[in-house]
Amino acid sequence: MADEKAEGGLVFHPMDQFIVKPLFGDGAVAWYTPTNVTFWLALSVLAVVLILVVLPRGRAVVPTRGQSIAELAYGFIYKMVEDVAGKDGVKYFPYIMTLFMFIVCANFLGLLPGAFTTTSHIAVTAVMGFGVFFAVTILGFVLHGISFLKLFWISAAPLPLRPILALIEIISYFVRPVSHSIRLAGNMMAGHAVIKVFAAFAAVTLISPLSIGAITAIYALEVLVAFIQAYVFTILTCVYLRDALHPHH
């Protein structure tokens, strides 16, 4: 797909932007090699530090603009955790805030031209998705013991239906981390690949204005998607956390 040459001289390399390269030299990529992944992950750490540590350093009672950004982000996620996961979910707020801030910063950094989008990699999102899945499942068993399994046994349903529903619930429970992680990676990857495809069309003079307009439009959509996917990832984490905290619905 990536190195197929289309007819008419068009060259599509939509997937090349996702290649992992060592930062220094051209060696093989071992697990410890500093790569472009490392670089952009470090940049997202810096972005998080900038937003949540440097901007609100004034600690003013009447916030400055930068301080408001940090406080809005804090209030937004805090309220989400409180509303969706419940009052007792608040003590897991730092973990959820970590996920949200990382995903938001990585998504927006990935939109910079020439950037490497760390969240477009299934390996990256799968670590977070499965991390949330295992954390929530273990938390459920630790808090409720074996009665956590009642999550799958819907007592509101008629008795003959319950085994079928339990099967469906169990399947959907184990599918959660897959959809949770692939949703984010897929959205990011698809958006960036589409931009690259339109960019390849810009080489043809006749349709290049259309192509550039389309790139602009898709880019605007991607800005929206970058935030919405971070929001959706976070709110789903809160929903899964609520299931672990209150499995009896």
Partner: protein, 183 residues
């Protein structure tokens, strides 16, 4: 992109000799360990920065703001209460002053009334005394006039009787005049 790897050939099963991607880079197993390793480090670093520095600081600022707002609202409430108290005191002072004023007015009125009553009484008494005196004087004048009339009548009667040729008996004339006068 990444054409500089041309001369080195493929360094990974996922990159072809031109540096282009083979298949999906996302599914390349050679790179996953690297990504996972650095991602875990990133998340741990972000978590520690957030939980140790950023979140407590923002929370304290928000709490401080909440406290300030609460204090300000309490202070405003207090000031409002003070203002209400002041208004009540003012209204009370006003009512007191009104009452005082009306009391003074009533007192003055009563005093004037008393003076007036006394003066009227005195004047009445004086008038009555004058009237009595006048009545006495009138009575005296009347009496003296009556006496004069009697005397004149006796004289006149004596003269008339004398002119008519009768012998005027003084006693008879007096009795006749007195009888006439009483009739």
């Amino acid at each position: 992109m990444a054409t500089e790897t041309d001369t080195h050939g493929a360094v990974s099963a996922c990159v072809d000799s031109h540096g282009g991607a083979v298949g999906m880079p996302q599914l390349c197993g050679d790179w996953m360990g690297n990504q996972v390793f650095w991602l875990v480090i990133t998340l741990v670093v972000i978590y520690f920065i957030l939980s140790r520095v950023a979140l407590p600081r923002i929370a304290s600022v928000l709490a401080e703001r909440q406290g300030t707002i609460t204090n300000d609202i309490a202070a405003a409430e207090e000031l409002k209460q003070k203002a209400e108290e002041a208004e009540a005191a003012y209204n009370k002072a006003l009512a007191d002053a009104r009452a005082e004023a009306s009391k003074i007015v009533a007192e003055a009125k009563a005093e004037i009334q008393a003076d007036l009553d006394a003066a009227t009484q005195k004047a009445d008494a004086e008038i009555a005394a004058k009237a009595a005196e006048s009545a006495k004087a009138i009575a005296a004048i009347q009496a003296s006039a009556m006496e004069s009339i009697e005397a004149v009548a006796k004289d006149t009667t004596g003269e008339i009787v004398g002119v008519l040729g009768g012998k005027a008996d003084a006693k008879a004339i007096t009795a006749a005049v007195t009888a006439e006068m009483k009739g």
